[in-house]
């Protein structure tokens, strides 16, 4: 690459800058709850899930002045059918077990069904699926989130239907964001596939297998012809995957 090449302008530098900030996230429940320190800190959230309450606090503050963000956070609230709302609160203001590690902030949820006044749950107690949803939302919606990132096992701890919906939303948010964002995700939950709008060529599905020589092979699943010849409602990608029709399954 020649620095003075006329073809190379800002887009290339922009790409290199995006790649420089690229990171592989692999959240785990103890880090999301704040029970352990995330040793791989990043903005807005750590690679293991640390600083989630701070990211949630930023989003809650930004939504007051950003109607588009407010609309998307409402979509996130709809995903948590048991919760009325989520936020971040100073850890000193909520009752916590003395054994819990205390960060400055904790994630907090308002339970829809519990008695008023006693209906607040912290990230220490809440369903872990809710924490993973907030983690995805922070990476998708926070202004400081890297534009190009990967999440390993994005589907862990998610109910199949929740996994499907969050994937639908992430794809939609990514398409609507300024300049676009690129996410590389690995999944093992078949339901995730049902939430992928693969008719949009910017959303791509790949299977990873080993061939007969033990080499890793990656193949894009292109269902254009099949969806043309069959009404899509007859099929679910999740069934096709578990049945082995897409590849990407072990021979067990």
């Amino acid at each position: 690459m020649e620095a003075d090449s006329p073809e190379l302008g800002d887009p290339v530098l922009e790409l290199l800058n995006e790649l420089r900030n690229y990171s592989i996230h692999c959240p785990n429940t103890p880090a999301l709850r704040g029970l352990v320190q995330d040793l791989q800190a990043r903005a807005p959230v750590g690679l293991s899930g640390g600083r989630l309450p701070e990211a949630v606090d930023d989003l809650a503050a930004n939504e007051k002045t950003d109607p588009e963000l407010a609309k998307r956070l409402d979509q996130v609230r709809e995903l948590l059918d048991w919760a009325l709302d989520f936020s971040a609160s100073p850890s000193m203001s909520v009752p916590l077990s003395p054994s819990a590690a205390r960060s400055r902030l904790v994630s907090q949820f308002v339970d829809r069904f519990m008695a008023k006044g006693r209906n607040k749950l912290t990230g220490y107690d809440a369903s872990e699926g809710a924490l993973y949803v907030l983690y995805c939302a922070a990476l998708a919606l926070h202004p400081k989130a890297p534009r190009c990132l990967a999440i390993d096992n994005v589907d862990q701890a998610l109910n199949p239907r929740l996994a499907q919906r969050i994937m639908q939303m992430v794809c939609s948010w990514s398409a609507e964001s300024d300049g676009g964002r690129q996410w590389l995700l690995t999944v093992h939950n078949p339901a995730i596939l049902d939430g992928l709008p693969l008719g949009d060529s910017s959303i791509r599905l790949f299977t990873v297998d080993r061939n007969n020589r033990g080499h890793t092979t990656v193949r894009r699943i292109d269902l254009a012809a099949a969806t043309e010849s069959r009404p899509s409602e007859e099929w679910t990608l999740s069934r096709m995957w578990t049945g082995g029709l897409l590849g990407g399954v072990p021979n067990v």
Partner: protein, 284 residues
């Protein structure tokens, strides 16, 4: 760098997959492939999951239903795979005649004609980067009836049992081929689909590959009633169990012996499988 061949395998069990994979490895030495065993949908609470010939039956029914009644119209299957191998076997036919005139030919001469076919198929694959789909059943299914598999056959399903005297082994495997085709809603084997129908069971091929001096090889191994029983009837250091682990330990031996199995006059069903697979590759 070419995409690997994508092969879907419909087989009765995991040990069959190990043997079929070894065979395809031997047939396509220069062509990487990904072989995936496809399975019927099911939940244990509603009945046994898809193993054995019943699993193959259920898979054929589900795939042909996806295709509106015909396997060959299952667009999703054929779009994602290049070839389908259907593997079933026919053990319960079992009218064994020792001293058959069709003795197994020992030796390791590789037919030059077959080598040429290998090269041609391999070249075509490499030229176009094609895939392929397959399916595999042991012919012991021929000895069962549908009730034994708790199956209420559809009106179009050909009759079971369909056993014929053995030898010749191909009478039964041909009858079974028609039965499996009826499960798939087909009159003839669809394109990019290869039937792998060992007579009795795949273990006939394993015995022939690993124990060429076994007593079952003195007659016609393809008509030996329970070839898998010979696996454990070997000297202690050589005997194996019918298990994935033991088969995987010996997979290179099976692969190496494949050319011997497919010599004319040796294992007829192995040769037919090879010929049909390589022929299918040349049409892609």
């Amino acid at each position: 760098m070419f995409d690997p061949l994508r092969i879907a395998l419909v087989a009765e069990g995991p040990t069959d997959r190990v043997v079929v994979e070894a065979a395809v490895n031997a047939m396509l030495p220069d062509r990487p492939f990904v072989l995936t065993q496809v399975q019927p949908e099911g939940s244990l609470v509603f009945g046994e999951l898809g193993g054995g010939w019943v699993g193959v039956y259920r898979w054929c029914k589900q795939a042909s239903a996806r295709g509106g009644g015909r396997l060959s119209d299952d667009a999703l299957l054929y779009q994602n795979y290049d070839a389908l191998i259907l593997h079933v076997y026919s053990r319960r036919l079992g009218i064994h005649r020792s001293g058959s005139s069709q003795n197994f030919t020992r030796g390791r001469v590789v037919s030059t004609q077959h080598t040429a076919v290998h090269a041609e198929a391999s070249n075509l694959c490499n030229s176009f980067g094609v895939f392929l789909i397959f399916a595999s059943i042991d012919a012991d299914v021929a000895g069962y009836d549908y009730a034994e598999g708790s199956i209420e056959p559809d009106p179009g399903d050909a009759q079971l049992p369909c056993e014929r005297p053995c030898p010749p082994a191909h009478d039964t495997t041909n009858a079974l081929r028609s039965v499996v085709l009826s499960w798939c809603g087909e009159q003839a084997v669809p394109k990019r689909t290869v039937f792998c129908l060992p007579s009795k069971s795949t273990e006939a091929w394993v015995v022939a590959a690993l124990f060429p001096d076994d007593k079952s090889m003195e007659g016609h191994i393809e008509c030996w009633p329970r070839p898998e029983s010979r696996l454990g009837q070997q000297p202690k250091k050589l005997r194996i169990r019918k298990s994935q682990r033991d088969y995987k330990d010996r997979v290179s031996d099976i692969e190496e012996a494949w050319s011997r199995l497919t010599e004319p006059g040796a294992i007829g069903k192995a040769l037919r499988f090879q010929n049909e697979l390589l022929a299918e590759l040349t049409t892609l």
